[in-house]
Structure formats: C-alpha cells, structure tokens
Symmetry: none
Subunit: 210 residues, 4 copies
C-alpha cells in the first residue's frame, strides 16, 4: 500500500508537491471509458487489459500504474458507472419501498447493474472483489435504512423486528426475478416492471404491521 496504486490522494491538504511528471488526469477517464466498453462488449470473462489499453490508446504500464490488476480495473470501471439508486423520497413508506425496489430491479436488468451483482457474487470467493462488494452492500443497506428512518419520523407504526427481514425479502425477491428472467428478456414495459414491484411491496408490507 506504500504509495503504489494510490488513487484517493484526495485531501486538498496534500496539494501534491511530488516531483516528476504528474499523472495525466485525462488518461484516467479515457481508460475507464475504454474499460467499461470492453466490459459491455466482451463481458467480464473476456475483459482483457491489452484490450483496454488498445481502446484507450494507452500503454499497459499506465494501467498497472493505477490499478493493481485486471480485477481492480474491472471492478472500478463497473463501479464508476453504477448510477446511484439510493436517492428515494416519495413521502410515504410504501412509495419509498416501491421506488427503491423498482430502481433496483431496473438497475439489475442493465448490463452494468448486473455486473455489480456478479461482482458481489464473485466476492464471496475472490478477495479482490471484497471491498467493492462491501461498499455496494453498504450503499443498499444505507438506502433502506434512510427509508425506514423517514417513516419513523413521520410517525408510522412499524414492527422494528421485521424491518431487516423484510428488506432482505424485498431485495432477495428482486434478485430472484432477475435470475429467473435473464437480461435477454426484459419486462414488456417500464410500468409492467413497476406493477410487479408494487405488488411485491404491498405483500411484504403486511409483515411490518406491529
């Protein structure tokens, strides 16, 4: 970890006074774009560093200067594209849950979204993906937590013990639907997708009644 693959130098405090040529800030984005295209066109298994370097018009050394290995770049390129699905606030618990569930389902039905799921799945066996998987899980958990916090603030009567299992069921149900359906056969319409989510939410919400 000693200065190699440092990416989140972040902090404006360290204004960076290191000698030597600074990293090309444009290259970073070109590489991530190339990587996500490589991923979308060829899939995770056939995603290659040589391919990304060629697409980005960049030497392989530049890739390995910034990312430790293939997995790291693959993960980051996918993560960079995974749009935020957490922003949800409809004014009611039911509305929020429907929105959340619909967002998740829609997200998982896109290549990039599904890729984040696959990364989570692979993370169980591949430590390289562990951190991203944790981060993604964190984001989903956080979103759910916010929804229920707001419900509490509004004074809704909720069986607190049921919250976690219900979220688990909701997310799980969405996952099952994606697996059963596949990327190839998306829902007929966006409203069809929403309807499906609505009925699931309406069903499990009964479990929240104290």
């Amino acid at each position: 970890m000693s200065g190699i693959h440092e990416r989140h130098t972040g902090a404006a405090a360290t204004i960076r006074k290191r000698p030597g040529r600074p990293r090309d800030p444009i290259a970073e984005q070109r590489i991530l774009d190339a990587a996500i295209n490589e991923f979308l066109e060829r899939g995770a298994a056939r995603f290659t560093m040589d391919g990304v370097a060629r697409r980005a018009g960049v030497g392989k050394s530049t890739l390995y200067l910034r990312w430790a290995d293939r997995d790291a770049l693959l993960v980051e390129s996918v993560r960079a594209r995974s749009r935020s699905i957490e922003a949800v606030d409809t004014g009611s618990l039911r509305g929020d849950l429907i929105q959340l569930t619909t967002n998740l389902l829609r997200f998982l039905l896109e290549p990039v979204g599904y890729a984040t799921f696959r990364i989570t799945v692979d993370a169980v066996a591949n430590p390289a993906y562990e951190n991203v998987a944790k981060e993604l899980a964190q984001r989903h958990r956080h979103a759910a937590r916010r929804v229920f916090e707001r419900a509490r603030e509004r004074g809704d009567a909720i069986d607190e013990a049921a919250v976690d299992p219900v979220v688990e069921c909701l997310y799980g149900a969405v996952t099952m639907q994606v697996l059963n359906r596949g990327l190839g056969r998306p829902f007929a319409s966006d409203s069809d997708l929403a309807t499906r989510c609505t009925s699931t939410v309406d069903l499990v919400m009964r479990l929240l009644e104290p």
Copy 2:
C-alpha cells in the same frame, strides 16, 4: 453439433449399436471426480483442463471429446455433485419450509453449492450455462411446488396468490444471507443456521394466511 459431445444417449432402446471402441464409462466418472477435486482445491478461476486430465490420468482429447470446453466440464462436474436438496417431508407446511430453507442455505454455504449459484448467475450473461441454470431452477421450483401440494392435500388454508411471491421471498432471503455472509464465515453452528431459517419462515408464513 450433430453427435458431438453427445452425453445423454439416453433411450434404453438404442442399446448402442455404434461400432468402434465405446467410450470408457469409468473414465467419465474419473474425470468428473478429478474435476470436482480440481475445482474444490483450486477454485473456479484456477480450474484447468490440463490439471483435470493429469488428475484423472486421461488425455486432454478425452476431455474435449466429451465436453465442448472448460466451462462445460466445470459446470457438469459441479452439477454432478450438487446433492439433492429437494427431498423434504416433515408432515407440516411449516416444517417443510424450514427444512427446505435450511437445506438451501446449508448447500449454498458449501463450495459446490455456491458454485451452482454462480453458474446460475453467469447464465444470465453466458448462454453456455443456460441449460444447467434452467435445470437447477427447475429442481428448486419443483421442490417448493411439492411442499405446497402436500399442504393442500392436508387441507391447510392457503392464500394461493401469495404462494409464488412467498417462495420468491424465502429463496431470495436465503440468497441475501449468503451474499452478506460469504463462504469464509459460516454460521457458528448448524442449529444457529436452522434458527435463522426458522425465524424467516415464521415471518413470511403470515403472508400465506387467506
């Protein structure tokens, strides 16, 4: 594809009348055993055909004569070992569901079981896995269906409309637990695992009340 990689010659009718040396039936099992060991020891990513051939004391050509490629063999070796988790009959709906859920969770926490899950996940993007994924889904669906059939036969009052969503939630909840937990950190004890499943089942069973 005609006649190549034919594996399910099936039909006892055609007792095999093809001339020439028949495929060694023992080799088949030796290869699958070697393959599953290769898989368990080295993981899916480092699973190699040369390794399997060496372990099985078999030529690579024999492998490629029977399986189209690395993925096909990997999938089949895993599938061959995925023990039947469907056999469930405790006498009550609640008992059956708990048993079913516990079996599934325990299965998914083993390397082979988790591999079948990964195959299902990959199948969404990789047509090569489609058939196996369908077969696995079929087996799970069948098991659940049997449980509810028996409940109906016993005269249990069930909200039929809720059956499918409930199963979806149950299986989904188990999946979520596996993903959140990882293979590395199994449950403290088998009873701990069972307790967890019991509470989940008890929760969602409320949705089946008419």
Copy 3:
C-alpha cells in the same frame, strides 16, 4: 515380420484358408488411392493417417493393420505411383543415356517423382525409408548398368573406370538442375528439357573415351 503387416501374400498356391474375418479386398486400393491424394494435395509433411482414413472411409486400425506406421504407408503410396523409368533402348549409348537422363529429369519434376527423391533424402536420417531408398537406388543403378552392358555388346570402346563416376555425374547433374529449378518452374517445353539433357550427356561422354 511374424505375420504382421503381411502384404505380399501373393501366390495363388496359398488359397488362403486362414481363420477369422477375411480382409476387405477393396480396402487396400481405396486406401492407397486416398493416400496418394492426401500426399498430392497436402505434401509429405502434412500427410496424416487420420486424413487418409477419412478419405478412404476406413478406420485407422485398418491402416495400421496393413502398414506399420505413417511412413510405411506414405512410402508405399508414392512407390506404387512411381512409374518405371528404366525401360530404355534406343540402339546407341548416346541415345540411351539421353533417354535415361531425360526420363529421370522429367520424373523428378513431377510431384510423385520428386517425392521419391525426398524419400531417398530423408532415408539418410530416417531408417524407416531405408529399404525403399535402397530399392529406388537399385532400380536406377540397374538401368544404367543395362545401358552400358548393351554398349559393350555392340562393341563400343569404353573406359570402364570412368563409367561409375560418369553415371554419378549425370544423375547428380540432373538432381542439381531440379533443385535449382524447382517444381514450380518447369521447363518451357518438353524438347527444351531434352535439349538440356542432350548437351549434358554430350559433355560427359567425352570422359568415357579410353
């Protein structure tokens, strides 16, 4: 040599009462035809047993039952097609030598003929070709010997000590011409080829004068 790869069962005397399934009499010719085609189309290096078997519509064991190995079949298929070039009798030594030389040159410029030469060349390093090479050398030597025998019978005055070296030079010169020329660039005409041989013969014949 004990009954394996027996090929010249010949002699009608042995009417053949050997037990067991008789050999398919048609197979032999079909195989040789397939072999020479395989050879002509793909060359000696890419000549394969599987290819011959496929062309002949025959199992590989049928090949190995009759020929010891790839080389044996290759050699025999070529030898079976190498037309006799020895028959020469023009009435004069000069005429005979010109005829002999021309025949040889023409033969070596054909694929099959050149192949016999290559076999001779390979025989130096590959014992499998030894016998054929010897047989071929024998035939050439025999032809030359006959020519000079007839010359002596006609009473021609010949420096006997020069005969062998002259034949060596003649055959060698023809070989050199083939190597310098290549199969791809044959002589403009057949008479051109004959002219070339005539002048060479006329030159070296001076060495035969006592």
Copy 4:
C-alpha cells in the same frame, strides 16, 4: 507481413527508432544455441518449440515473436551454424576444386550440413524454405565462381562453356555420394574422403580443356 518477424533490420542508418522495449539481442543467440542443440540431440522430427524455449530459458511467445513457426526457427538455427565452406584458395584450379569438393562432402556428412541440404530439397515443395534455399545456393555458386575467376586471373586455359556443367557435375556427384552412403556410414578416414574427391575432380577437369 509488415514488420512482423523482421530480422534483418540491417541498415546502420536506421539506428533503431522503433518505440517500445527493444528485443533482447542476447536472447536471440541463446535461442539459436538452444535450437541447434535441440536439433542435434533430438533430430529434426523431434525438434520442439517447447523444448527450445525451456533450454533457452525463454517464453514461447518470444520464439513466436521472432520466428513465424517451428520450421522457420529450425531452418534459421541450422543456417546460423552452417559453417562457411566457401573460403578456398590453394593457388591452383585443381587444388581449389579438390578443396571445395572435399569441404562440401565433409559438410554434407555432418548433421547440420545435411540438414541444410534437406532444407534445400524441401524448399522445392515448401515456399517457407525458399529464401534460405536461395541463399544457400547463392553461397555455393559464389564460391565456385571465385575459384574460376582466380584461375582466369592466373591465365589458365579454360573452356568457358564447360564451367557451369562441370560445377553442376561436381556438386551433383558429391550429392550422389552422400545419398548412396548415408550419414551413418561416414568415410573410414578424412584422407579417404579427400582421395575420393580428388579422383572425381581429376576426371571432370578434363572437360574444362578447350
């Protein structure tokens, strides 16, 4: 073919301006050494790329980066070792021819030398060998030409028209002797070999008298 397997970058003018890591000049020699050893120990047929790579301590990709295929490397390694047989200057035409012929015969009786001959023979049917064959032929032709040039400079009386056929006969005769003799049965002694060449030269030299 543009720039791939380029080996004779030659021209000192272009001091090498190609970007990227330059090819290791040491590796080249290591590979050729390994290759010639592989060839001498195992013969042309059992000469393998993996073997060469292992001997040279080099990856296979490095081999294929420089040589198009097995044959190309085999040919080049042999060519690199084919010692110069052209350097001949005894002070007389007869001496030069004897020396030249003896050198050639001795060369062809060694594995590497005979291999160059086989390459020439194969070149007739295999375009891949064409260039090497031409180069080798060129070298032999050049050596012969020099010998006769010096003879002319010394004022020897020579029938110019006979020069080419005589050289053809000499080289051809040597070739015939090698073919008749084989690598396995070398001459009893080096002087035996020289005697043989001397008598052949003495014979054909008569043809050079005007």
